[in-house]
Amino acid sequence: MALNNFLILSAFLFCTGIYGVLARKNAVLVLMSIELMLNAVNLNLVAFSAFNSPTQSVRQAASGQVFALFVITIAAAEVGVGLAIVLLIYRNSRTADLDQLDEMKG
């Protein structure tokens, strides 16, 4: 398997996630796009871990996957807190539409 395949796929996922973050109105959808970005990163990490395995020791090469595990953990925590915030926003302004949240408008 070519390494670049994974990397380009990962880049594609990441940029799709960026598009979603920038273009979606609903807050939950934005969070979903963030998950896409995180997954792209994870894929990148694991691919590099697999790529580096012949040249490193087993424990060293495992660091990529360990990092990916930590990312998943953080992602979970982040989604939890993020959704709590979205709920709070929804409770206060009756909408989850990010376009409505422009009180910082200059």
Binding site: I18, V21, L22, A23, V30, L98, D99, L101, D102, E103, M104, K105, G106
Partner: protein, 690 residues
């Protein structure tokens, strides 16, 4: 006093200022101030005369006057006149210097000056006293006295001046005062016109005077009179320059002294008060020209080559003036005008005398003429004041006044006799000396002219006297004798008219005047003919002949059938009369031909220029300014500047609007910018490191 000659102009000047500022408030309205000032000036002038005589006698020895008895001609003697040289008393200060030229002020007192001081202060004093009565209740009494004082101050300044510039200041001063006093009653248009005519005519002469002063300055290198005279007598003097300078100076003399052709102002100047006429236009101001010529005689003597005999400009002018003045005196109705033409004629005598080299005779005639002419004028004033109800018209308002005004009559007769040159009155001695010198110096033509003039003088004065004092009273008033303030000056002047001639009565061996007055210092050699009894007798005879014929004509007019009314009937005689009545049409020439011919086209030209050129230019400027204003408003302001400002504002607004795009308050917008920037940075890094 000789050393303090500056007092002579200073005292009347001070009196002028005092009268001007305080005169109205003092009792007497300023007249006492003037009289006191002039009185003290007269006393000081007597002191000056005495001092000068002392000086001359000291220099030459007392017996000189007697030794001059019968002495003859000094022609040919190369040294001075056999007498010691008496230098004038000079006090000179340099006023300021610039580029090597120094301007000074100072006094130069010699016999001529002392004589003038005496004459001017005496006659001015008498006129001051006379005016108290004559100008009583006049509307500008104080102003009159102030101007009289200023006039006297200017005249004295002129007389004692030691340089031509100071003389010029005095000259102009007397011209100004003459103008002010002639136009004293300026409410009448005639009077102010006469004043203006006097001023402008003398001004025309003054052009010559100023040019002459400048020429002499460049010739002699100094304004100082002594210096100029020294230059004129020196061997290396440029004759052309002297001739030019003398001619120009003489033009000034012509203007101020009323010689032909600038004599037209003098008769018109009679519009002023009579005391003014007596002082200014008979005795003092009009002789300022003669004084100038006498003062700077070396210039004229050498410039016109008087010593060489023959015709010269000065003598010709004098001669012409004698005749035309005398002839015009015949056709006047106004007694003052008769006297004015007589003055013109007599000054012609003085100028002619100077022109033939008879310096002493001219100055002596000036001396005596001052007295009897002033007397005649004041007498005329007395007649008008008390006899003819303030009129000067002889034919309509006078006649037979000798019965009513004896003092005036007898003093007037004495003055007339002096003027006609009757022995032993003053005029005889002075006029004869002129004629004698003219004849002896080879100027025979002028001798004849002088004799004709004497004849005419006697004739017209007889006419004048007849019309005024003889016959029936034709006036409307109540004639009576004038008050003492008027008659006493007349009597004083009559005494002088009788006695003044005796200071230089050559046949009697008295030549004091010549001795005291004629300069010995820096003075050309002059011819002094011996007193010629035949010529004196001839002139006396001619004068008496003139009186006789005129008296016969006027007194016996009723019997002279054919001659009576001749000028009305005979065309030629009438033409002649009209010619004379219009004063040879000289006034017409000056005013209607020369002046109008210049001022008419000039005025029209100036008007055309103003309307078509200047106005057009101004209008164009105005229109241009309006156009510029509109252009500035429409194009520059509205379209240009406003657009620029609007543009800036719009750009700012647009920029703000543009920036507002990025400040939407929405997180996703910020994230977009963030990721965009990251991408660009990454690309930059990529390119930089590849």
């Amino acid at each position: 006093m000789l050393n303090n000659a500056w007092l002579f102009p200073a005292i009347p000047a001070l009196s002028f200022l005092l009268i001007l500022f305080f005169g109205k408030r003092t009792p007497g309205k300023g007249a006492p101030i003037g009289i006191i000032a002039l009185g003290s000036s007269f006393v000081l002038s007597i002191v000056a005369v005495v001092q000068w005589i002392q000086r001359v006698d000291d220099a030459t020895g007392h017996s000189q006057g007697l030794r001059a008895l019968g002495r003859g001609v000094f022609a040919g003697e190369s040294s001075s006149h056999g007498e010691a040289v008496v230098t004038p008393v000079v006090h000179s200060f340099t006023w300021w210097q610039n580029a090597g030229i120094s301007f000074g002020v100072g006094t130069r007192v010699d016999g001529l000056v002392v004589m003038m001081l005496f004459v001017v202060t005496l006659i001015s004093l008498l006129v001051h006293v006379y005016s108290v009565a004559y100008m009583h209740n006049d509307i500008r009494y104080t102003h009159y006295y102030a101007m009289l004082s200023l006039f006297t101050a200017s005249m004295l300044l002129l007389v004692v001046a030691d340089n031509t510039l100071q003389l010029l200041v005095g000259w102009e001063g007397v011209g100004l005062c003459s103008f002010a006093l002639i136009g004293h009653w300026w409410e009448e248009g005639v009077n102010s016109a006469a004043a203006l005519k006097a001023f402008l005519t003398t001004r025309t002469g003054d052009i010559g005077l100023m040019i002459g002063i400048i020429i002499m300055f460049f010739a002699a290198g100094t304004f100082n009179i002594t210096g100029t005279n020294v230059y004129a007598l020196s061997k290396g003097a440029d004759h052309t320059l002297l001739l030019a300078g003398a001619t120009c100076l003489f033009i000034g003399v012509i203007g101020k002294s009323g010689q032909f052709p600038l004599h037209t102002w003098l008769p018109d100047a009679m519009a002023g008060p009579t005391p003014v006429s007596a002082l200014i236009h008979a005795a003092t101001m009009v002789v300022a020209g003669v004084f100038l010529a006498a003062r700077m005689y070396p210039v004229f003597f050498k410039g016109f080559s008087i010593g060489a005999g023959g015709m010269n400009f000065m003598a010709i002018t004098g001669g012409i003036t004698i005749i035309i003045g005398a002839v015009l005196a015949f056709v006047q109705r106004d007694i003052k005008k008769v006297l004015a033409y007589s003055t013109i004629s007599q000054i012609g005598y003085m100028v002619m005398a100077l022109g033939v080299g008879a310096w002493t005779a001219a100055v002596f005639h000036l001396f005596t003429h001052a007295f009897f002419k002033a007397l005649l004028f004041l007498g005329a004033g007395s007649v008008s004041h008390s006899g003819s109800h303030h009129s000067f018209d002889m034919k309509n308002d006078m006649g037979g006044l000798r019965k009513f005004m004896p003092v005036t009559f007898w003093t007037f007769m004495i003055g007339t006799a002096a003027l006609c040159g009757i022995f032993p009155f003053a005029g005889f001695w002075s006029k004869d000396e002129i004629l004698v010198t003219a004849g002896a110096s080879g100027f025979d033509a002028f001798l004849v002219v002088g004799l004709i003039g004497a004849f005419l003088t006697a004739a017209y004065m007889t006419r004048c006297v007849y019309l005024t004092f003889f016959g029936e009273y034709r006036g409307h008033g109540h004639p009576h004798e004038s008050e003492p303030l008027i008659t006493v000056p007349l009597i004083v002047l009559a005494c002088f008219s009788i006695l003044a001639g005796l200071v230089n009565a050559a046949p009697l061996g008295v030549e004091k005047f010549k001795q005291w007055v004629e300069p010995t210092f820096v003075f050309p050699q002059l011819v002094h003919p011996e007193f010629d009894y035949p010529k004196a007798g001839l002139s006396l005879f001619i004068a008496l002949l003139g009186i006789g014929i005129a008296a016969y004509f006027w007194f016996q007019k009723e019997e002279l059938g054919p001659l009576k009314g001749l000028t009305q009937r005979n065309k030629a005689a009438h033409a002649g009369y009209t010619f004379l009545e219009n004063k040879y049409y000289i006034d017409y020439l000056y005013e209607d031909v020369i002046v109008a011919g210049i001022k008419g086209p000039m005025a029209r030209g100036a008007y055309w220029f103003n309307q078509n050129v200047i106005d057009k230019v101004v209008n164009a400027f105005g229109a241009g300014a309006v156009k510029l204003g509109r252009f500035t408003y429409n194009t520059i302001d509205q379209k240009g500047i406003d657009r620029a400002y609007d543009g800036v504002a719009e750009a700012t607004g647009d920029a703000g609007g543009l920036l507002r795009y990025f400040q939407s308050g929405r997180v996703q917008r910020y994230a977009l910018l963030l990721f965009g920037a990251v991408g660009i940075l990454a690309l930059a890094l990529l390119i930089a490191n590849s």
